[in-house]
Structure formats: structure tokens, C-alpha cells
């Protein structure tokens, strides 16, 4: 038996979130394809100058994209699955958050130790030079990792949920402040898009780091909860 790495609740919520995020990403792309134009403020349509366009064909004939063809419409099931996955993600997030606070997971693993920007920049510099730490403590996170996870958990996920809710006409009828603070419904859509891209970039780096630093051992840690006897022997 190796070293204890992740608790059962962290492992289960991690993989449910992974599944939901994948579903949200694919369906989110499908939804964007029906109108690959973005605006700022309350309103925007094809008669309005966009903030920017994504240079791809659209799944709607009405959108002028410059391409001579229209992609198949996959918006219906994409929307159903997008919202169902969002529910699963939010409920999983609530469970994870309650556990994080009550079982001390946040305090022990994410707010642990002294935080210094110097450590963040030194880890960053090391990564950019593709150097491994020679004395990295296997069971704990360095300052850059802690900062990244904190931003993902406490900034990006709440923001993506908020901007999503701000696009709902029924939700903002009850709580208009959700959308007015963002500058309008179209601003909420644009921010939702950029936060999603940030989360996707986190995913890419997260997976890349796992591959570079020992894929088998880290996957074992997140699936079985334990790593091998020595961290990098896998």
C-alpha cells in the first residue's frame, strides 16, 4: 500500500465534475455554433455590430459567416444536456464545498502553509524551463498549484455559474442584479464564453502536468486514493 493521496469524496466529486465539464464543453461549443458572434451590453443580433466573431460556419442560415454552407443543427439536445450537466455540476460542487469546509480539506490542502508570490514565481520559472523540483514534497501542493486550484474553485467555477444564470430570463426576473452587475445579458454571454475558455485552459495545463510528472501514479492517486510507495517510480 502506498501513500494516502485523495479522500473518497474528493475522488468521486473530481470524476463527476470531469464528466460534467466534458459534457458542458462539447454542448457549449455546439450552442456557440448556432450564433458564433459576441456582443456587449443588453442586446445584440445580426443587425448589430458584434464585439467579435468566431470565424467558423454557423448552424443557422440567418447568420452571415461568409461560408457558403450551414452546419447541422445540434442545439436542441445540446441545450438539454448543457443544463442537465450544469445541475449535476452544481450539486456536486455543493457537496464538495461542504466537505471542503467541514472536513478541513480546503484548510489542510489549499490554504496550507505560508503563501508567497516569490514561491509562485520560482515554481513558474522552473516549469517554464522544464525542470522538475528535486525535493518536491510528494503529498502536498506547491504555492503555484494552490493558487491555481483556489482560482479555479473559488473564482472561475462560481463565475461560470453566475454568468450562466444571468442569461436566464426567468432567473433574472427574480434577481435582476445577477445580470445588471455584469452590464447586460449579452455581456453575461460574452463573459461566460471567456470564463469557459479559461477553464478549458486550466484543463489542458492540468492534464499536461499529470502526463509530465507521472501519469500512472497520479491517475492511481485520483482513482484508488493511494499512490505507489515512491511517488515517481511509476
Amino acid at each position: 500500500m502506498g501513500e494516502r493521496r485523495h479522500s473518497a469524496l474528493v475522488r468521486v466529486t473530481h470524476w463527476v465534475t470531469t464528466l460534467c465539464f466534458f459534457a458542458l464543453l462539447v454542448t457549449g461549443i455546439e450552442i456557440v455554433i448556432s450564433h458564433p458572434r459576441f456582443y456587449w451590453g443588453e442586446q445584440g443580433n445580426i443587425n448589430t455590430t458584434p464585439l467579435f466573431k468566431i470565424p467558423i460556419p454557423a448552424s443557422r442560415e440567418s447568420v452571415p459567416t461568409g461560408y457558403g454552407y450551414v452546419l447541422p443543427d445540434q442545439n436542441g439536445w445540446s441545450r438539454y444536456l448543457h443544463f442537465q450537466s450544469a445541475w449535476a455540476l452544481v450539486l456536486t460542487g455543493v457537496l464538495y464545498f461542504a466537505y471542503g469546509v467541514m472536513a478541513g480539506h480546503f484548510r489542510r490542502n489549499l490554504f496550507a502553509g505560508a503563501f508567497s508570490w516569490r514561491e509562485v514565481t520560482s515554481v513558474l520559472r522552473r516549469h517554464l524551463c522544464f525542470q522538475r523540483a528535486d525535493s518536491e514534497e510528494p503529498g502536498s501542493y506547491n504555492a503555484l498549484q494552490r493558487l491555481t486550484y483556489l482560482v479555479v474553485i473559488f473564482v472561475l467555477f462560481p463565475l461560470v455559474i453566475w454568468t450562466g444564470l444571468a442569461m436566464s430570463p426567468a432567473v433574472v426576473s427574480a434577481w435582476p442584479v445577477l445580470v445588471t452587475t455584469l452590464g447586460g445579458q449579452q455581456s453575461a454571454r460574452t463573459i461566460h464564453f471567456f470564463v469557459s475558455i479559461s477553464l478549458f485552459m486550466f484543463l489542458v495545463v492540468h492534464v499536461a502536468m499529470i502526463v509530465f510528472l507521472g501519469f500512472t501514479n497520479r491517475m492511481r492517486g485520483m482513482i484508488t486514493g493511494r499512490t505507489g510507495t515512491r511517488l515517481e517510480d511509476a
Binding site: 450564433h35 442586446q43 443587425n47 442545439n75 444536456l81 450537466s85 442569461m167 430570463p169
Partner: protein, 251 residues
Amino acid sequence: MSKISRRKLITAGAATAGLSGLAVVAGVASRHGLVPPDHGGLYGPGETLTYGFHRLLTRHSMAREFAASEISKTPFANGAPPQEEAFKRLQAGGFADWKLAVDGMVARPGSFSVADLKRYPASSQITHLACEEGWSYIAQWTGVPLHHVLNAVGAHANARYVVYFSFQKDWWDSIDMADALHPQTLIAHGMNGSELPAEFGGPLRLRVPRQLGYKNVKYITRLTVTDSMKPFGKGLGSASPEGGYAWYAGI
């Protein structure tokens, strides 16, 4: 009793309790109108959660209204008016012969012309219309609140939905009584201070400002008050779920 069989017994007991608990919750939710007609299938759970929560938390909320200065100078109609001869004839006659039939669970089924509807006290709102594709515009909508018409025909107290049909045969939809009786739900006949233009749904369009654009069906010709969506189409509530889109579009 061995340890394994005790564990099995506890698991089975917990599963039974869980399932019967779920059945009780589903029963209560259904009685209180928290389950949408398209609750079955793969995406039923998410749809039911959304609709149920919205009905618990936003039943009486009012759609946001905007200043006249925020009305879009470039609204988007999304499609041309019907090309059928019958529609063109009605349009040429200024829609004087357009009829809105009201039937179903009502004491006095009837038929209204546009002029009949304009005799009711009109209501105006400057609200946001968002399409599920992502685009939107703000416009001023004028019309008769649907609840006036429902009162006039004596809608039954046990009614649960109002179904509405378009001149365009593929388009029909329905809303629950929370939306049907909501003060901002209009049978719109005016837009931005003029007659409702045909490309925006004139002469009559159902305006449901707390739901997405596709619930705001154009060219409405008939309203049916009902307590069940089963007899209509595939029983999913509207043409939208039959085409793969959610019945409830408050999101």
C-alpha cells in the same frame, strides 16, 4: 447473519427507502405543478429540476423592463411572414378577418377578431427578447394581457395549461397557468408604438417575456385551455420537444 448479507440487507433497505422517497417527492412535485410535460427521457431530470425550481422561486417575478432609450434600433425578425396565399389575402385586408379562436376548458368558447382584442384595456412593456441561439433585442410590446381573455371566456379553475396554435402549422406551444395568468403575458398586437409588423408575428403574437424567443409564437389563431397535455401532439407540451428543444424555456 453473516457480515456480507447484513451489508446487502442494509444496501437493499437503503435503496428501497431511497426509491420510495423519490416516488413520494415525484408525486408531491407533480401535484404542485413542478413537473414539465417533457419530464421523460434522458434529459428529464435536468429539465424537471430547472422547471420545478423556477416554479418554486420565480412564479410571480416580473420580467425586467427597460427605458424607451434602450429599445433596439435594429431588432431582428428571424424569418419572413408565411408565404401562403391565405395569409397574403388576410394581410391585404389589414387582418380584419383574422380570427383567434378560444376553446377547451372554458365556459364560453368564442372567437376574437383583432379589433375585438383591441377593445380590451391594452398593456405595454419594454422587454428583452432572447433567442436560444444567443442573439437578442429590446422592444416595446403592446397587447391584451392573456388573463383578460381567459376571464372573458370563463377559463375553468382546474385548467393547467393554455395551448396556442400558429397559422404556421408546425408551430404550436403551451404555457402553464403561472405564465398564462402572469400580468406580463400578452396577446401582442403592437410593437414600438405601431401595429405589430408581419415579420415580427403580426397581427397577433403570444408574448411571454420570462421565456426565450421560441415560446413567443407568431401568427396565433387558436388558444385551447386544458388540464392535460397528453392529447396534443406527442404529449410533450409543444412542438419544441418533438424537434428536440425543451418545453420550458425560462432556461
